[in-house]
Amino acid sequence: MKIRTIGMMIAILIASFASFSGWAADEGKIVVMNPRGVQPEIRKIPMAPRQPTLDGKTVYIVDTKYAMTKPFVTELHSALQAKYPKTTWVLREKFGMYMDDDPNLWKEVKEKAAGSIVLVGH
């Protein structure tokens, strides 16, 4: 096989390696590494089916107890009761601080309510 052919093959090999590895020689370009971490997969949670009406149903209003937001939560509860009197609006405080989980409350909501409003913060 001619030396020229072998040389061309080697040149093609090197050029392929260069382009795949990012040795971009044109215009002084360089390749750098990605500083980002790996983002997790996001499991999609199906939303709960809605009721056609809340008449005769119970809805929990869950207060996460962010500092000094009680007046708003109380006013919301009163306003919903006044505007939608055929619905039972139950105001409950979540356990612990605003970031603490409350699995018992969620279980109660699932068992007794058609839905919940969780609020509010800041």
């Binding site: 500083p35 971490g37 983002q39 949670i45 708003f72 919903l80 505007k83 839905g115 609020l119 800041h122």
Partner: protein, 446 residues
Amino acid sequence: MITRRFQELVTTIAYKKGIPNMRITFTPHPITDRPAELCRKYVAGNDPISGKPMLEQIYDSLTGKLSAEDAKSGYLKRDPRPRLLPPDTPDRLMQFFHEQNFTDGNPIILPTEKKVAEMLKATSRKPDEWVGQMRPSPPHEAWYYTVEMVAVNAVMAGVKPEYFPTILAMASKGVTSMISSTSSFGRMVVVNGPVVKEIGMNTGIGALGPFNQANSSIGRCWTLISKNLGGSGKPGETYLGSLGNPINYNNLCMPENEDNLPAGWTPLHVQKGFKKNDSVVSFFNGWSFSNIAWYSPLPIHEVIRGWLENFFSYGTRQATLVIDPIVAADIANNGYKSKEEFARYLADNTGTPGWLFWSQNRTALKQAESGVEPYASWLKRGKDVVVPVSRYKGGGRRAGSGSGFTSLGGNTATTIEIVVTGGGTNTFWAGGDFGYIGSASVDHWR
């Protein structure tokens, strides 16, 4: 429901939690500490984002029909993570890194494969080995990272390869340097053990200042790791600090000056259960830091006690003192034979300013007004007079947590940490509302 200020945050969180079409109603901002009449007006008004009447929007959110997509399970697409970025000129890459929020606003060293490979030689760990996972705060998603990914950020921060095991230890703890909170958290990182001298950290003059490559770049690297590997530091989405905190640039990175500890005073890492010859990084969480450069006729331990008594910030139930070796020697010469002994003296003899105590303990105030002791006697002295209740007792109490207090005296754990560093040019010291979070072994990552 959430206030309008957090629209971007809540919609991205809902997506990341797997409910991209979560029904959200917004309120005006802020809601905190608004009078009832104003709240009534808000509730009767419109959602400030959608413009719809608030109550009707809530009702519709609970009853409106779901789309087929809303009812499905599955996995949402994430952008792929290439190992290498598209080639470009160094100037354009630098600008790209700034625009992508990969930096702290200062220039970085571009992480070429060659530079990263050099960094990786400083550890026996494989490049694809998992180091840790980190999130901006507990409800946020965590991102995951390998040894190689940490090396990329170490190069960017200007870290030398010999510092890399320290960086890996820091990354392995999975603690972000920038919590997402609106309160603009700060962090502190303290290095102990033989590694301090091995990598030439500065324990002397200006230990906390911009005078040493290791002190500066290690602290800086924690911020880059937090942003790029931990998903933190994206304003509006994973960072909501109202003012921001300049501490985040370097995270108060310092080595302890172990050679100049008074006799009987143990290094921080030994206090936390490590051996003296272990190399360790330790992490602290807080908000503010005061540099006290003041002369007083009082003995220095009394000055510190007075400062602690009157010091106020968000984290009012924990404190870390960073003291010069001369100050440490003075304190030891005044009879405090260990850090623990001094911390206990401070906790036992530091009351709470009256205005702070009565405003944080409304139940106690009501009891005082009803004549219940000891509150009644305390209140009788005057509402602004120091109350004999310690803020620094009960080890591990969460900063800013609600009511509850411990009376002075007794022999209980404290929430006061003490670190000794500095060059002994004067009897000065510093302190802040920092509490100890944990430590990680550097040796584990060599």
